[in-house]
């Protein structure tokens, strides 16, 4: 579809009354503080592009990319404008006109070919473990990435040796009586960087009567592509995943990664595939998708076994943008934490403010990302928590780096990992 004809571009730009409400909530604007980085500035510039008053150049792209795609502006816009979608659509349009080699390589080739991504991560792991970090950096994959990568490479730490997919089977039978067949959308980052989260997810789900299917050929959810203007690639990836999961006839399709679950949410699938030939299949898929935390509370209503002897732990929770803003899921992860014996949940100030990670933003805009991160860490550390929980691998990576950078020894965990620990010594439910 032509840029001008895309629904948000066609219908929403004129709805902006320039009230500036979005200025007051945007984390990047709070750092840059000039109108070129204000969400309403982005809306304005997308309008200029649409009307042909500016050309789709890299200069425009650069300004639009001062954005974390955190969606905070969109959820706060009183006129109901999906500001981040407008931005993504515009970046995609500019991208089509100015293919840039470095980014092509990363986003088209690497993310769409899990093998390549895996090998790159593996290379980094090897470089770290063998003390050849310097060499790793010299030949490192990060050089393929654009922008601030040489500086940002240190964020990508501690790559585990075995990916989750190598440790988990395709079909994981329910323990006890089977209640549901659940497709597990195991995202790239959880698979490669946080296999312990994937194992915990499977553990918790099977323990609660779910048969868990992990299709072998899951491809990237497409969110990094949307954020970087590669809409067509995002569409192809989504279509592939739709067909793949539909072939398994699951009752639900869940993801423990906030970015993936928002990418496969109905809203986003409609944004990508609505109006195309595949629409019916796409909606059949999207109707079943749900974030893990919501599934655990709303559908399974999990009750971990009471344990009066459970060790007291102070936990604070960071809202991933892709969960709180994109899907409005704020209460479920908190409720999940509260249900875990021993957990005391302490709210931090501005828990729903972006951590500055936002997928690849920390890699492409390193300095600004660090400013945003340090504010987040100040608020987190003030709680006196010993664990910092969140539901997104990109946030986890960023927050771990933030903890490290601030000499804070709190552990960054996914709530499902804490939950899985309570089941370890308990037999499965017999229903």
């Amino acid at each position: 579809m032509e840029f001008k004809e895309l629904p948000p571009v066609k219908e929403q730009i004129m709805k902006c009354v320039r009230c500036g409400k979005c200025r007051s909530v945007c984390p990047t604007f709070a750092e840059i503080k000039d109108e070129t980085a204000a969400p309403r500035g982005h809306v304005f510039m997308v309008g200029m592009l649409r009307d042909g008053k500016v050309e789709p150049t890299e200069d425009v792209y650069k300004r639009l990319s001062n954005c974390l795609m955190c969606e905070t502006c969109s959820v706060n816009c009183p006129s109901g404008i999906d500001i981040h979608e407008l931005n993504a659509a515009a970046r995609s349009y500019i991208y089509d006109k100015n293919p840039s080699v470095g980014k092509e390589l990363v986003f088209d080739t690497m993310w769409t070919r899990p093998g390549l991504l895996k090998n790159s991560v593996r290379l980094m792991w090897f470089a770290q473990k063998s003390g050849l970090q310097k060499l790793g950096r010299t030949i490192g994959i990060t050089k393929l990435l654009p922008g601030d990568l040489p500086k940002a490479e240190k964020i990508l730490t501690d790559v585990p040796y075995r990916a989750a997919k190598n440790q988990l089977g395709e079909v994981n039978p329910a323990q006890g009586e089977k209640k549901y067949r659940v497709g597990y959308f195991l995202g790239c980052a959880t698979n490669l960087l946080n296999p312990e989260v994937a194992k915990a997810t499977v553990e918790v789900l099977t323990h609660n009567g779910c048969e868990v299917i992990i299709p072998k050929d899951i491809k990237c959810c497409g969110l990094p592509h949307i954020a970087n203007g590669k809409m067509e690639t995002a569409r192809q990836l989504a279509a592939h995943n739709v067909k793949l999961f539909n072939s398994y006839d699951c009752d639900y399709i869940i993801s423990d990664c906030a970015s993936c679950s928002s990418a496969i949410s109905h809203k986003n699938i409609e944004f990508l595939l609505g109006g195309l030939k595949i629409e019916d299949q796409a909606f059949e898929f999207a109707d079943k998708t749900m974030d893990l935390t919501k599934f655990l509370i709303e559908v399974l209503d999990v009750e971990p076994p009471a344990n009066p002897k459970a060790k007291k732990i102070r936990v604070t929770y960071h809202d991933p943008c892709h969960l709180a803003n994109a899907q409005g899921i704020k209460e479920e992860p908190r409720e999940l934490l509260r249900r875990i014996p021993g957990v005391e949940l302490i709210e931090m100030k501005d828990a729903n403010r972006c951590c500055g990670g936002s997928g690849t933003f920390s890699l492409t805009h390193y300095d600004m990302s660090m400013k945003i991160l340090d504010k987040k860490m100040d608020n987190a550390m003030m709680t006196g928590a010993t664990k910092l929980a969140t539901c997104c691998p990109s946030c986890m990576m960023q927050l771990r780096f933030g903890a490290n950078r601030n000499n804070w020894d709190a552990e960054v965990v996914h709530p499902v990992v804490l939950l899985a620990e309570c089941y370890k010594k308990t037999p499965a439910l017999k229903v």
């Binding site: 004129m14 009354v17 009230c19 000039d34 109108e35």
Partner: protein
């Protein structure tokens, strides 16, 4: 002076990060919140971000020597094109200069730089049990500098008045590049009648007399308790009548707001959880003070409103109060929700009429909307007769734009005919300039003479006010 030369000279005065000169960047400074700039954007020649009085002075002196226009800007939430370079020039964006210089709690004062955001100031004052009472709907966005320059006020003006009541003194860089201190800027007293009142002259001057670089504000003790009464009416006229009844009973609420049926619809569309009842009009009364007096006044208001209202809810639960108040404060932009393919525009949005004529005005505005076939959402600070009108149109359809401009013109004339004013708080800027003569007569000449005394070359924010 040509553009390249301006750019070079500014680069000598300010560091790179305080200067925008690329065409693409400058475009972002072609608008504020007004419909006018949406239709007629004007791009400046440069944008600067000074963060010291000396930097402001250097820029102003340079501009003065070279006859270049200067346009002060805060957050650009003004509704009148006030901060736009309609005749070209250098925009001074003061929003990055957001330092709270001193909180003098013992003397109940605070000194701020112009870019401090209103909501943040009150957050910082809160631990001292103090607050700066004027509270515009744009509290989270607008700057204190912009508030002073526009003499902004807000939902609680009924009891607390406008910004001017709280400004003790100012530091101003004049259009010729002098730095002056007005009123009690350099004193710490609260009462001060010494000298011609230049502070009051600067307040509401919309950037045409100088650049406000520092502000000494008086703060008030924060009230301990608060309550909100929501009265639901089936007849529009009953709402303004109830307001008068409440005043007659000797009660001064901190705020009285009205939402008409279309405003109610807009709020419910935006935030369904607020769940306002469908009716012709809703009044929100806010009372604040000590707990027993809040309770007493709340009950009194309920009793009075019950005479005409379908129902009255008295809320003291913080969550419900926040919800109701939020419902009102988002109406300004949520108004767009009443039409799927339309948006509210900020034009003719701020007339002010005598309390006795509010009902007539609301009815007349509705009739005008019908005459031009344009949906209007009415809401506003009914407690002081300040009616906000939001025409909802599709700005991409020229015929609708043409009709809305006629509607707005009639609304402005209506206000004057009602013995009111074209603007109760948002100011004149570019958009209400055509009515200056009608509103002020020969006084306009004296305004112009005053400006000329400050600004002999006419470089400070030209094209505004008169």
């Amino acid at each position: 002076m040509d553009f390249a030369a301006i750019k070079d000279e500014l680069a000598k005065i300010l560091s790179k990060d305080k200067l925008l000169t690329e065409e693409l960047d400058l475009m972002y400074y072609s608008y504020d919140s007004s419909f006018f700039t949406q239709m007629e954007p004007s791009v400046p020649q440069a944008v600067v971000f000074p963060t010291s009085t000396e930097e402001v002075q250097k820029v102003v002196r340079f501009a003065y020597e070279n006859n270049i226009n200067i346009i002060p800007r805060g957050a650009g939430t003004g509704e009148t094109g006030g901060c736009i370079a309609v005749n070209g020039g250098i925009v001074l964006d003061l929003s990055k200069w957001d330092e709270i210089v001193e909180i003098d709690a013992r003397n109940m004062q605070v000194i701020v730089r112009p870019g401090v955001i209103h909501a943040r100031l009150n957050e910082e004052l809160s631990p001292f049990n103090l607050f700066f009472p004027p509270d515009p709907g744009s509290s989270q966005m607008c700057t204190i500098g912009g508030m002073v320059a526009n003499n902004a006020s807000g939902l609680r003006a009924v009891k607390y008045g406008t910004t001017e009541q709280y400004v003790l003194g100012l530091e101003v860089v004049t259009p010729t590049g002098d730095i002056i201190y007005t009123g009690g800027m350099q004193a710490r007293c609260i009462k001060n009648v010494s000298g011609l009142n230049l502070t009051k002259l600067m307040i509401g001057s919309e950037g045409v007399l100088g650049i406000i670089t520092q502000i000494r504000l008086r703060c008030w003790p924060k009230p301990k308790a608060r309550g909100i009464a929501m009265a639901v009416f089936d007849q529009l006229d009953d709402a303004p009548a109830t307001v008068l009844d409440v005043y007659k009973a000797g009660i001064l609420p901190s705020g009285i707001e009205i939402l008409d049926s279309s405003a109610i619809k807009a709020v419910n569309e935006f935030k369904p959880e607020i769940n306002l009842p469908n009716c012709e009009a809703i009044l929100l009364f806010e009372v604040d003070g000590n707990p027993p007096s809040v309770d007493y006044e709340g009950r009194q208001i309920k009793e009075i409103a019950d005479r005409r209202a379908r129902s009255v809810e008295w809320a003291t639960d913080p969550q419900r109060m926040a919800q109701l108040w939020e419902g009102r404060s988002v109406t300004a932009s949520a108004a767009s929700r009443v039409r799927a393919d339309g948006t509210r525009v900020f034009a003719g949005e701020d007339v002010s009429v005598p309390l006795s004529k509010v009902a007539d005005t609301l009815r007349a505005i509705r009739a005008l909307g019908e005459k031009y076939g344009i949906q209007v959402v009415n809401y506003g600070h009914i407690g002081d007769g300040n009616v906000h009108t939001a025409p909802v149109i599709n700005p991409e359809i020229p015929a609708e734009v043409e009709r809305v401009m006629k509607l707005v013109d009639e609304i402005h004339h209506l206000a004057i005919a009602m013995q009111g004013s074209t603007t109760g708080e948002h100011g004149v800027g570019v958009v209400r300039r055509p009515y200056a003569k009608q509103e002020h007569g020969q006084a306009v000449e004296y305004m112009q003479k005053t400006k000329a005394a400050f600004d002999p070359k006419g470089i400070m924010n030209p094209g505004k006010l008169f």
